[in-house]
């Protein structure tokens, strides 16, 4: 039983070392995300400031914290499919993968999980430290990330982020399968990018949407990525549900993995290999 996981584990550890590096690229994207957060926070800050008497439970502090958490977890989102997998179809190197005694679904899933997890870790840490510790230290409390009201909330947030990571990899595998079938990453990426960005709260925090629309967002898997974890952290409930929102994530995870397995098996049966 233990040996079954070994190749995937080995890949994860080896690749993680390569990806989770503190290069110029990481620093640049941290800078870009902080800048993006600053722009959004300025807008929300002044929206709330000039507002008199809203009956809106999602306060300015929550909105600002939402932006920080959303930017900190940006690397988790499956914007693009794995360029290597689509490339391996064109070059023919996918045949080497097929000769290995490993399960294709698990193999692709591990690759996507590794990519998301390794990129997430350094970015998340730096942005959270900046927003939760540096900003209050220099007395910019109004723009800082608020602390969770209780310790269980923080714990539930990390569990939920982990679930979000698993959902992200499950979505990415399905995207890879589509890229393999259409022989191009462009189409999938063009469709996925706007969907993921909006439903992960990248355009506006989803609690700003009308109540009915917030319920609709759960009908797509994308809000399970980071929107639900952030709601848990902030304690923004919908009809009294907060912690239970994780059940939506688990449901989507099961659905996506089953669907992904089915699609991959079909794809592998009708594989057309180019190049050679």
């Amino acid at each position: 039983m233990r040996g079954r996981f070994k190749p995937y584990q080995a890949y994860f550890l080896a690749r993680h070392k390569a990806l989770a590096q503190w290069g110029l690229t990481t620093l640049a994207s941290i800078l870009a995300q902080t800048w993006w957060a600053a722009l959004n926070i300025s807008v929300y800050y002044s929206l709330y400031m000039f507002q008199t008497g809203t009956d809106f439970t999602f306060g300015s502090q929550s909105a600002i914290s939402y932006v920080w958490l959303q930017q900190a977890t940006l690397a988790l989102l499956p914007f693009y499919c794995d360029p290597d997998i689509a490339g391996s179809i064109r070059s023919g190197s996918i045949l080497y993968d097929r000769t290995k005694p490993i399960d294709t679904y698990s193999w692709w899933y591990t690759r996507n999980l590794t990519r998301a997890a390794s990129r997430l870790f350094p970015r998340f840490t730096v942005i959270i430290v900046f927003a939760a510790i540096c900003l209050p230290t220099f007395s910019y409390n109004g723009y800082a990330l608020e602390k969770p009201s209780e310790a269980t909330r923080l714990f539930a947030f990390f569990v939920s982020i982990f679930l979000g990571l698993l959902v992200s990899a499950a979505i990415a595998v399905i995207m890879d399968a589509i890229a393999v079938r259409t022989l191009s990453v462009n189409g999938v990426n063009a469709v996925a990018m706007p969907l993921v960005l909006f439903f992960a709260g990248g355009v506006i925090p989803l609690p700003f949407l009308p109540e009915w629309a917030q319920f609709l967002t759960f009908l797509l898997p994308f809000s399970s990525l980071v929107d639900i974890p952030i709601r848990i952290y902030l304690g923004v409930s919908i009809d009294g549900y907060t912690y239970t929102l994780s059940l939506i994530q688990i449901t989507w995870l099961i659905l996506l993995i089953s669907a992904g397995r089915y699609i991959i098996n079909r794809t592998i049966l009708h594989l057309e290999v180019h190049g050679g």
Partner: protein, 290 residues
């Protein structure tokens, strides 16, 4: 597509002035050829073009859905409503779509020209590298963002602005200024890649970030961001200030209307400075090919 016919016309009427500007005309003709080649190449993949345009339409459209959701939650934004903000949104998206379509060569300069030494080949040709990079690729998929931007702009102007010849000219002038401003940002990004290729996504903060930021009136931002958008990278000069002439929100910055209407020229000045920097960058370029 329209551009190639326009340029075609210039070339056709050129016999009498050919002697005076032979070099410039050759450049125009060459650019027209580049455009036609690039469009033909992309037209080979029709379904890819359609799906990518739709994706772009959706992703820029989401931005407007976001603004709509915010304003329906908060009512209005100081003195701004959905239509007046929509004018800013439409302007900046139209300018960006055009710059993204024509400035693609500068956007991919680091990865497609410097890293693989392809730039050597450009330098060895008897034409300006800036012209060759402009002609590298015209991204027709930017049509998605362009259509969406123009639609929002026209719709919101019809509801909130004056409908006169003067206001039409001001709006077109703003788009011209915005186009050159974004093109200038792409050129600065290309200039940086003479020194480093990693970490250039920082410039997305000015391109995509600029689009995002300039959708809102500049006075919502704190002082340092305001300073940046007025004096360093003049986004406000191509959206916020000149549109006052059309929308009459009379901000209290104390600038005369005529001056506001002229301000988009700052975008062109920014572009000129960036091409100067690019030339400086070229002089530092050392190829490692042997």
């Amino acid at each position: 597509m329209g551009d190639s016919t326009e340029n075609g016309k210039v070339v056709m009427n050129s016999t009498e002035i050919r002697s005076r500007f032979p070099r410039m005309l050759k450049s125009v003709r060459l650019y027209a050829l580049y455009l036609r080649l690039s469009i033909n190449a992309q037209a080979q993949y029709k379904s890819a073009f359609i799906i990518q345009s739709l994706g772009q339409l959706a992703s820029s459209g989401m931005g407007f859905v976001g603004i709509w959701a915010l304003l329906s939650r908060f009512g209005s934004f100081q003195t701004w409503n959905i239509y007046t903000i929509g004018v800013l949104y439409g302007l900046i998206n139209t300018s960006f779509a055009l710059a993204e379509a024509f400035g693609r060569g500068f956007d991919v300069f680091g990865s497609d020209f410097v890293r693989n030494r392809e730039f050597d080949r450009l330098l060895s040709r008897p034409r300006s590298p800036i012209l060759q990079l402009l002609g590298h690729e015209v991204r027709i998929k930017s049509l998605g963002r362009l259509l969406q931007g123009v639609f929002v702009l026209v719709f919101c102007l019809a509801s909130a602005g004056d409908f006169t010849l003067g206001s039409f000219l001001v709006i077109v002038w703003c788009i011209v200024g915005g186009f050159f401003l974004f093109l200038g940002i792409f050129i600065i990004q290309a200039t940086l890649s003479f020194w480093t290729i990693d970490g250039l996504e920082v410039m997305n903060g000015l391109t995509y970030g600029g689009v995002q930021a300039a959708q809102y009136p500049v006075d919502v931002y704190p002082g340092w961001i305001r300073f940046l958008f007025i004096f360093v990278v003049p986004f406000s000069a191509v959206t916020y200030f000149p549109t006052d002439v059309v929308l009459h929100y009379h901000d209290n910055w104390g600038i005369v209307e005529y001056v506001k209407a002229i301000l988009p020229i700052l975008g062109i000045i920014f572009f000129c400075i960036s091409t100067f920097l690019f030339r400086v960058g070229i002089s530092y370029y050392i190829s490692e090919r042997n």
